[in-house]
Symmetry: C2
Subunit: 198 residues, 2 copies
DNA sequence: GGCTTAGTTGAATAATCAATCAAGTGTCAA
DNA sequence: TTGACACTTGATTGATTATTCAACTAAGCC
């Protein structure tokens, strides 16, 4: 218990700090002062700073289901609406942070240009998991979509809309940029759902 | 001539370095070694590092027309095709950099979380200029679009697709992610252009 | 020749960075 | 009681950071 306690304390603090200030601008000292630990303890569990980052990315990977998807779509039964519930969840994050919110994975993906393969793989894996979850939603409603709809592409597109919307909303400090992006996606999906018109 | 020469040398070097390594990871020493200048020269023209960043953002703002738009759409006359020529230009940048390309503005926008207002304003201005140029393209073809089409939202959506596509293509080191995003946008625009079907 | 001024030089400074390590503490099990 | 082990302490290292500054050069003007 004791050993894992320290480890998770470090990972949780690093998760928040990397999200708030980015990886490069977060110092080991930042993590230590927030956790009230000494450097020796941190370096007992992690060979170096990059390994803390890897642990953080693994934590996001393991937490997507309980910490993002389930809270986001609550009891929503309709799979397509679940996608937009998820986007709505990001909207509340944007609003709650006064339009300061940035997707932690997206921010790290853009910050770490020449990243180590171990880091890059985990970033890609996080994106892939997100896309998989959304694709699964769309596929559950496959019968309502136009035949031949590419659900993988549509799910990637949904991620694109989320990331682009978050980026613009934060830069302009205005949720409306996010909202307009989601509205465009909604129109796009609605056109792909035209069963009754056919 | 001589004074301005040094200034632009610094701005051009910083432009490339910020694009390659980001703002935080680029040191003044990096800029000095690339320009073969001494620190005193740099601090003669710029009060501090952030002022170099501001000059870089101003350079992007002033360079969007001659350095991005005109090369991108060459002699293309059709305004809608110009938008996709622009996206095609980003595609070549992605390919030429082995899927390492990141939009300099987008990367800086995500990196600089708690940015100075002077910096944030310029980032927003750069986005706004890009969107304005694209919106102008769409508006030139207004008669071909469905009545009531929101060209501002469509142009913002185009920026979203570009940024999201670039982000995913780089993270997965695969242009196909960018291509699929553009294809989705193309389908979206085509549906908005259905004149002949009406 | 002198005066001014814009630009340059490059060593120095103080802060901060990731990382190290020898000396400790506490907890087991034999 | 002893020894092994996991973990902690915190001062320290050496590299790197942005920034400063007094001295210097060169060019233009009177």
């Amino acid at each position: 218990m004791a050993p894992k306690d320290t480890r998770t304390k470090i990972v949780e603090a690093a998760m928040e700090l990397f999200w708030q200030k980015g990886y490069g601008s977060t110092s080991i000292a930042d993590i230590l002062s927030r956790t009230q630990l000494n450097s020796g303890s941190l370096y007992h569990f992690f060979p170096g700073k990059q390994d803390v980052l890897i642990a953080v990315l693994d934590a996001y990977r393991d937490g997507i289901e309980p910490m993002l998807l389930q809270p986001a779509w609550g009891g929503e039964p309709d799979p397509v609406e679940r996608v937009f519930k998820l986007l709505g969840f990001y909207r509340t994050l944007i609003v709650e942070t006064d339009c300061t919110y940035g997707c932690p994975i997206g921010s790290l993906a853009l910050e770490l240009h020449e990243a180590d393969p171990a880091v890059r793989d985990r970033l890609a894996q996080n994106f892939a998991n997100w896309v998989d979850a959304v694709r699964f939603c769309y596929e559950q409603a496959a019968s309502r979509f136009r035949p031949g709809t590419d659900f993988q592409a549509l799910a990637e597109f949904t991620l694109t809309v989320m990331e682009g919307g978050v980026m613009q909303a934060r830069t302009h400090r205005d949720v409306a940029y996010f909202d307009r992006g989601v509205a465009q996606l909604r129109a796009h999906v609605d056109l792909l759902l035209e069963r009754e018109t056919a």
